[in-house]
Protein backbone atom coordinates (compact mmCIF):
# COMPACT_ATOMS: atom_id res chain seq x y z
CA UNK A 1 0.00 0.00 0.00
CA UNK A 2 3.00 2.27 -0.27
CA UNK A 3 1.63 3.66 -3.54
CA UNK A 4 -1.42 5.06 -1.97
CA UNK A 5 0.52 6.40 0.97
CA UNK A 6 2.70 8.41 -1.35
CA UNK A 7 -0.32 9.58 -3.28
CA UNK A 8 -2.00 10.68 -0.09
CA UNK A 9 1.00 12.65 0.96
CA UNK A 10 1.45 14.31 -2.38
CA UNK A 11 -2.08 15.03 -3.37
CA UNK A 12 -3.31 18.55 -3.82
CA UNK A 13 -6.31 20.05 -2.06
CA UNK A 14 -8.63 18.94 -4.85
CA UNK A 15 -8.08 15.22 -4.18
CA UNK A 16 -10.77 13.99 -1.83
CA UNK A 17 -9.67 11.87 1.08
CA UNK A 18 -11.40 8.65 0.07
CA UNK A 19 -9.74 8.29 -3.31
CA UNK A 20 -6.42 6.54 -3.73
CA UNK A 21 -5.15 8.95 -6.35
CA UNK A 22 -6.25 11.67 -8.73
CA UNK A 23 -6.75 9.24 -11.58
CA UNK A 24 -9.25 7.20 -9.58
CA UNK A 25 -11.08 10.39 -8.69
CA UNK A 26 -11.17 11.55 -12.28
CA UNK A 27 -12.34 8.16 -13.56
CA UNK A 28 -15.07 8.06 -10.95
CA UNK A 29 -16.28 11.53 -11.89
CA UNK A 30 -16.28 10.67 -15.57
CA UNK A 31 -18.22 7.44 -15.08
CA UNK A 32 -20.65 9.23 -12.78
CA UNK A 33 -21.27 11.91 -15.39
CA UNK A 34 -21.84 9.39 -18.16
CA UNK A 35 -24.28 7.46 -16.00
CA UNK A 36 -26.10 10.68 -15.27
CA UNK A 37 -26.32 11.36 -19.00
CA UNK A 38 -27.74 7.86 -19.46
CA UNK A 39 -30.53 8.72 -17.01
CA UNK A 40 -31.08 11.94 -18.94
CA UNK A 41 -31.52 9.94 -22.14
CA UNK A 42 -34.30 7.97 -20.45
CA UNK A 43 -35.78 11.17 -19.02
CA UNK A 44 -36.15 12.67 -22.48
CA UNK A 45 -36.95 9.16 -23.72
CA UNK A 46 -40.36 9.20 -22.06
CA UNK A 47 -41.25 12.27 -24.10
CA UNK A 48 -39.77 10.82 -27.27
CA UNK A 49 -42.01 7.79 -26.71
CA UNK A 50 -45.09 10.01 -26.42
CA UNK A 51 -43.94 11.94 -29.47
CA UNK A 52 -43.49 8.78 -31.54
CA UNK A 53 -46.93 7.43 -30.71
CA UNK A 54 -48.83 10.64 -31.35
CA UNK A 55 -46.89 11.35 -34.51
CA UNK A 56 -47.92 7.89 -35.69
CA UNK A 57 -51.54 8.63 -34.85
CA UNK A 58 -51.87 12.27 -35.85
CA UNK A 59 -49.34 12.70 -38.61
CA UNK A 60 -51.28 15.40 -40.47
CA UNK A 61 -51.61 17.58 -37.42
CA UNK A 62 -47.96 17.05 -36.54
CA UNK A 63 -46.95 18.01 -40.07
CA UNK A 64 -49.11 21.14 -39.98
CA UNK A 65 -47.85 22.08 -36.53
CA UNK A 66 -44.27 21.55 -37.59
CA UNK A 67 -44.71 23.81 -40.59
CA UNK A 68 -46.00 26.58 -38.37
CA UNK A 69 -42.75 26.76 -36.40
CA UNK A 70 -40.17 29.09 -37.84
CA UNK A 71 -37.57 26.98 -39.64
CA UNK A 72 -35.21 29.94 -40.04
CA UNK A 73 -34.94 30.53 -36.31
CA UNK A 74 -34.74 26.81 -35.64
CA UNK A 75 -31.79 26.43 -37.99
CA UNK A 76 -30.07 29.49 -36.57
CA UNK A 77 -30.58 28.17 -33.07
CA UNK A 78 -29.12 24.80 -34.02
CA UNK A 79 -26.08 26.62 -35.37
CA UNK A 80 -25.82 28.72 -32.20
CA UNK A 81 -25.86 25.59 -30.07
CA UNK A 82 -23.23 23.91 -32.25
CA UNK A 83 -21.03 26.97 -31.84
CA UNK A 84 -21.46 26.78 -28.07
CA UNK A 85 -20.43 23.13 -28.20
CA UNK A 86 -17.32 24.14 -30.08
CA UNK A 87 -16.40 26.78 -27.51
CA UNK A 88 -16.91 24.26 -24.71
CA UNK A 89 -14.76 21.68 -26.46
CA UNK A 90 -12.07 24.30 -27.02
CA UNK A 91 -12.49 25.38 -23.41
CA UNK A 92 -11.74 21.88 -22.16
CA UNK A 93 -8.70 21.91 -24.42
CA UNK A 94 -7.59 25.24 -22.98
CA UNK A 95 -7.97 23.80 -19.49
CA UNK A 96 -5.94 20.76 -20.50
CA UNK A 97 -3.17 23.06 -21.62
CA UNK A 98 -3.48 25.33 -18.62
CA UNK A 99 -4.43 28.48 -20.56
CA UNK A 100 -6.44 30.23 -17.94
CA UNK A 101 -7.43 33.38 -19.81
CA UNK A 102 -8.39 31.47 -22.93
CA UNK A 103 -10.50 29.13 -20.81
CA UNK A 104 -12.34 32.05 -19.23
CA UNK A 105 -12.96 33.68 -22.60
CA UNK A 106 -14.27 30.44 -24.11
CA UNK A 107 -16.55 29.77 -21.16
CA UNK A 108 -17.92 33.30 -21.39
CA UNK A 109 -18.53 32.77 -25.11
CA UNK A 110 -20.40 29.56 -24.27
CA UNK A 111 -22.59 31.45 -21.83
CA UNK A 112 -23.28 34.09 -24.47
CA UNK A 113 -24.21 31.42 -27.04
CA UNK A 114 -26.39 29.66 -24.48
CA UNK A 115 -28.22 32.88 -23.65
CA UNK A 116 -28.60 33.66 -27.36
CA UNK A 117 -30.21 30.27 -27.85
CA UNK A 118 -32.57 30.87 -24.94
CA UNK A 119 -33.39 34.34 -26.25
CA UNK A 120 -34.29 33.02 -29.68
CA UNK A 121 -36.26 30.22 -28.10
CA UNK A 122 -38.15 32.75 -26.02
CA UNK A 123 -38.89 34.74 -29.16
CA UNK A 124 -40.28 31.64 -30.85
CA UNK A 125 -42.43 30.85 -27.82
CA UNK A 126 -43.68 34.41 -27.77
CA UNK A 127 -44.71 34.16 -31.40
CA UNK A 128 -46.61 30.97 -30.61
CA UNK A 129 -48.28 32.77 -27.73
CA UNK A 130 -49.39 35.55 -30.08
CA UNK A 131 -50.73 32.97 -32.50
CA UNK A 132 -52.77 31.24 -29.78
CA UNK A 133 -50.82 28.03 -30.22
CA UNK A 134 -50.26 27.56 -26.50
CA UNK A 135 -52.31 24.55 -25.31
CA UNK A 136 -55.17 25.54 -23.09
CA UNK A 137 -58.51 27.26 -23.35
CA UNK A 138 -57.44 29.92 -25.80
CA UNK A 139 -55.80 27.40 -28.11
CA UNK A 140 -56.71 28.00 -31.71
CA UNK A 141 -55.03 26.29 -34.62
CA UNK A 142 -57.51 27.16 -37.33
CA UNK A 143 -54.88 29.32 -39.02
CA UNK A 144 -52.69 26.31 -39.79
CA UNK A 145 -52.46 25.18 -43.37
CA UNK A 146 -53.70 21.68 -43.92
CA UNK A 147 -51.29 19.23 -45.50
CA UNK A 148 -51.57 19.25 -49.28
CA UNK A 149 -51.86 15.49 -49.72
CA UNK A 150 -54.65 15.09 -47.22
CA UNK A 151 -58.15 16.33 -47.71
CA UNK A 152 -58.63 15.91 -44.00
CA UNK A 153 -58.66 19.15 -42.10
CA UNK A 154 -56.74 19.95 -38.97
CA UNK A 155 -58.26 18.45 -35.86
CA UNK A 156 -57.88 21.11 -33.21
CA UNK A 157 -57.56 18.63 -30.38
CA UNK A 158 -54.90 16.60 -32.09
CA UNK A 159 -53.04 19.74 -33.08
CA UNK A 160 -53.02 20.70 -29.43
CA UNK A 161 -51.24 17.45 -28.61
CA UNK A 162 -48.48 18.41 -31.02
CA UNK A 163 -48.08 21.74 -29.31
CA UNK A 164 -48.27 20.15 -25.87
CA UNK A 165 -45.31 17.98 -26.81
CA UNK A 166 -43.56 20.86 -28.54
CA UNK A 167 -43.70 22.99 -25.41
CA UNK A 168 -42.91 20.13 -23.05
CA UNK A 169 -39.89 19.02 -25.07
CA UNK A 170 -38.43 22.42 -25.89
CA UNK A 171 -39.33 23.62 -22.40
CA UNK A 172 -37.46 20.87 -20.62
CA UNK A 173 -34.59 21.27 -23.06
CA UNK A 174 -34.51 24.98 -22.27
CA UNK A 175 -34.55 24.17 -18.56
CA UNK A 176 -31.47 22.03 -19.10
CA UNK A 177 -29.88 24.95 -20.95
CA UNK A 178 -30.63 27.29 -18.06
CA UNK A 179 -29.07 24.85 -15.61
CA UNK A 180 -26.07 24.55 -17.94
CA UNK A 181 -25.63 28.32 -18.19
CA UNK A 182 -25.87 28.64 -14.41
CA UNK A 183 -23.24 25.94 -14.04
CA UNK A 184 -20.92 27.68 -16.48
CA UNK A 185 -21.21 30.93 -14.56
CA UNK A 186 -19.77 29.15 -11.54
CA UNK A 187 -17.13 27.37 -13.58
CA UNK A 188 -16.08 30.67 -15.18
CA UNK A 189 -15.71 32.25 -11.77
CA UNK A 190 -13.54 29.42 -10.50
CA UNK A 191 -11.57 29.34 -13.75
CA UNK A 192 -10.92 33.06 -13.33
CA UNK A 193 -9.75 32.33 -9.79
CA UNK A 194 -7.30 29.83 -11.26
CA UNK A 195 -8.66 26.73 -9.62
CA UNK A 196 -8.13 24.55 -12.68
CA UNK A 197 -4.84 23.28 -14.01
CA UNK A 198 -3.70 20.64 -16.52
CA UNK A 199 -3.65 18.29 -13.53
CA UNK A 200 -7.13 19.09 -12.38
CA UNK A 201 -9.82 20.25 -14.76
CA UNK A 202 -12.47 17.58 -14.07
CA UNK A 203 -15.32 20.07 -13.38
CA UNK A 204 -14.70 21.77 -16.73
CA UNK A 205 -14.68 18.40 -18.46
CA UNK A 206 -17.88 17.23 -16.74
CA UNK A 207 -19.61 20.53 -17.46
CA UNK A 208 -18.57 20.07 -21.07
CA UNK A 209 -20.04 16.57 -21.23
CA UNK A 210 -23.35 17.87 -19.88
CA UNK A 211 -23.42 20.74 -22.34
CA UNK A 212 -22.66 18.48 -25.30
CA UNK A 213 -25.46 16.18 -24.21
CA UNK A 214 -27.93 19.06 -24.16
CA UNK A 215 -26.67 19.92 -27.63
CA UNK A 216 -27.32 16.35 -28.82
CA UNK A 217 -30.87 16.44 -27.50
CA UNK A 218 -31.42 19.54 -29.58
CA UNK A 219 -29.80 17.90 -32.61
CA UNK A 220 -32.67 15.38 -32.44
CA UNK A 221 -35.39 17.84 -31.42
CA UNK A 222 -34.63 20.00 -34.45
CA UNK A 223 -35.61 17.46 -37.15
CA UNK A 224 -38.33 15.90 -34.98
CA UNK A 225 -40.12 19.18 -34.33
CA UNK A 226 -39.14 21.53 -37.15
CA UNK A 227 -38.68 19.17 -40.08
CA UNK A 228 -41.66 16.80 -39.92
CA UNK A 229 -42.94 18.01 -43.23
CA UNK A 230 -41.30 20.87 -45.08
CA UNK A 231 -42.13 19.67 -48.56
CA UNK A 232 -43.34 22.44 -50.82
CA UNK A 233 -47.10 22.82 -50.54
CA UNK A 234 -48.71 21.78 -53.80
Amino acid sequence: MSDSQIAVEQHGPELLHHFVDAEQQRDAASLGMWLFLATEIMFFGGMFCAYLIYRYWYYNEFAAGSRSIDLKWGTINTAVLICSSLTVALGVRAAQMGKRKLLVVLLLLTIVFGLTFLGIKGLEWYTKFEEHHIPGHSFNASDLEKPPYSNGGIDQQHEQIFFSLYFAMTGLHALHMIIGVGMFIFLTYYAWKGRYSPKYYTPIEMGGLYWHFVDIVWIYLFPLLYLIDRKPLG
Partner: protein, 95 residues
Amino acid sequence: MSEHILSSKLYYAIWIMLLVLTVVTALVARVDLGPFNTIVALVIATFKALLVVLFFMHVKYTSEKLTKMVIVAAVFWLLLLLALSMADYTTRLLS
Protein backbone atom coordinates in the same frame (compact mmCIF):
# COMPACT_ATOMS: atom_id res chain seq x y z
CA MET B 1 -2.83 10.76 -16.39
CA SER B 2 -3.64 13.72 -18.58
CA GLU B 3 -5.69 12.82 -21.62
CA HIS B 4 -4.61 13.08 -25.18
CA ILE B 5 -5.04 16.74 -26.19
CA LEU B 6 -6.68 17.05 -29.58
CA SER B 7 -5.57 19.70 -32.02
CA SER B 8 -7.85 22.69 -32.31
CA LYS B 9 -7.96 22.15 -36.07
CA LEU B 10 -9.89 18.94 -35.53
CA TYR B 11 -12.43 20.76 -33.38
CA TYR B 12 -12.91 23.41 -36.04
CA ALA B 13 -13.30 20.73 -38.73
CA ILE B 14 -16.00 18.98 -36.71
CA TRP B 15 -17.68 22.30 -36.05
CA ILE B 16 -17.79 23.12 -39.79
CA MET B 17 -19.16 19.66 -40.54
CA LEU B 18 -21.90 20.07 -37.96
CA LEU B 19 -22.89 23.45 -39.37
CA VAL B 20 -22.90 22.14 -42.93
CA LEU B 21 -25.01 19.16 -41.91
CA THR B 22 -27.48 21.47 -40.18
CA VAL B 23 -27.95 23.46 -43.35
CA VAL B 24 -28.11 20.28 -45.43
CA THR B 25 -30.81 18.73 -43.26
CA ALA B 26 -32.88 21.92 -43.39
CA LEU B 27 -32.54 22.05 -47.19
CA VAL B 28 -33.18 18.37 -47.82
CA ALA B 29 -36.40 18.62 -45.85
CA ARG B 30 -37.74 20.95 -48.57
CA VAL B 31 -37.31 18.28 -51.22
CA ASP B 32 -40.07 15.72 -51.49
CA LEU B 33 -38.54 12.32 -50.88
CA GLY B 34 -41.70 10.64 -49.68
CA PRO B 35 -41.13 8.64 -46.51
CA PHE B 36 -37.38 9.10 -46.88
CA ASN B 37 -37.53 12.67 -45.60
CA THR B 38 -37.86 11.46 -42.06
CA ILE B 39 -35.24 8.79 -42.50
CA VAL B 40 -32.72 11.20 -44.01
CA ALA B 41 -33.38 13.73 -41.24
CA LEU B 42 -32.81 11.10 -38.55
CA VAL B 43 -29.71 9.69 -40.23
CA ILE B 44 -28.19 13.15 -40.42
CA ALA B 45 -29.15 13.85 -36.81
CA THR B 46 -27.57 10.60 -35.69
CA PHE B 47 -24.43 11.36 -37.65
CA LYS B 48 -24.22 14.79 -36.03
CA ALA B 49 -24.78 13.28 -32.60
CA LEU B 50 -22.03 10.76 -33.28
CA LEU B 51 -19.62 13.54 -34.26
CA VAL B 52 -20.34 15.35 -31.01
CA VAL B 53 -20.02 12.19 -28.91
CA LEU B 54 -16.89 10.88 -30.55
CA PHE B 55 -14.90 14.09 -30.87
CA PHE B 56 -16.31 16.83 -28.64
CA MET B 57 -16.97 14.34 -25.85
CA HIS B 58 -13.71 12.48 -26.54
CA VAL B 59 -15.28 9.05 -26.65
CA LYS B 60 -13.17 8.12 -29.70
CA TYR B 61 -10.00 8.75 -27.73
CA THR B 62 -10.86 7.29 -24.38
CA SER B 63 -9.36 3.95 -23.53
CA GLU B 64 -12.24 3.27 -21.17
CA LYS B 65 -14.64 0.69 -22.59
CA LEU B 66 -17.12 1.41 -19.84
CA THR B 67 -18.08 4.81 -21.29
CA LYS B 68 -19.05 3.16 -24.55
CA MET B 69 -20.98 0.51 -22.67
CA VAL B 70 -22.96 3.13 -20.77
CA ILE B 71 -23.87 4.92 -24.00
CA VAL B 72 -24.85 1.71 -25.77
CA ALA B 73 -26.90 0.54 -22.78
CA ALA B 74 -28.77 3.84 -22.51
CA VAL B 75 -29.58 3.92 -26.23
CA PHE B 76 -30.59 0.26 -26.11
CA TRP B 77 -32.95 0.89 -23.19
CA LEU B 78 -34.46 3.87 -24.99
CA LEU B 79 -35.09 1.73 -28.07
CA LEU B 80 -36.60 -0.93 -25.80
CA LEU B 81 -39.07 1.61 -24.44
CA LEU B 82 -39.96 2.83 -27.90
CA ALA B 83 -40.12 -0.58 -29.57
CA LEU B 84 -42.18 -2.37 -26.95
CA SER B 85 -44.62 0.55 -26.63
CA MET B 86 -45.03 0.66 -30.37
CA ALA B 87 -45.61 -3.09 -30.35
CA ASP B 88 -48.93 -2.21 -28.72
CA TYR B 89 -49.84 0.82 -30.82
CA THR B 90 -49.03 -0.64 -34.23
CA THR B 91 -51.02 -3.83 -33.66
CA ARG B 92 -54.13 -2.38 -32.03
CA LEU B 93 -56.10 -2.24 -35.24
CA LEU B 94 -55.37 -5.87 -36.04
CA SER B 95 -57.34 -7.19 -33.08
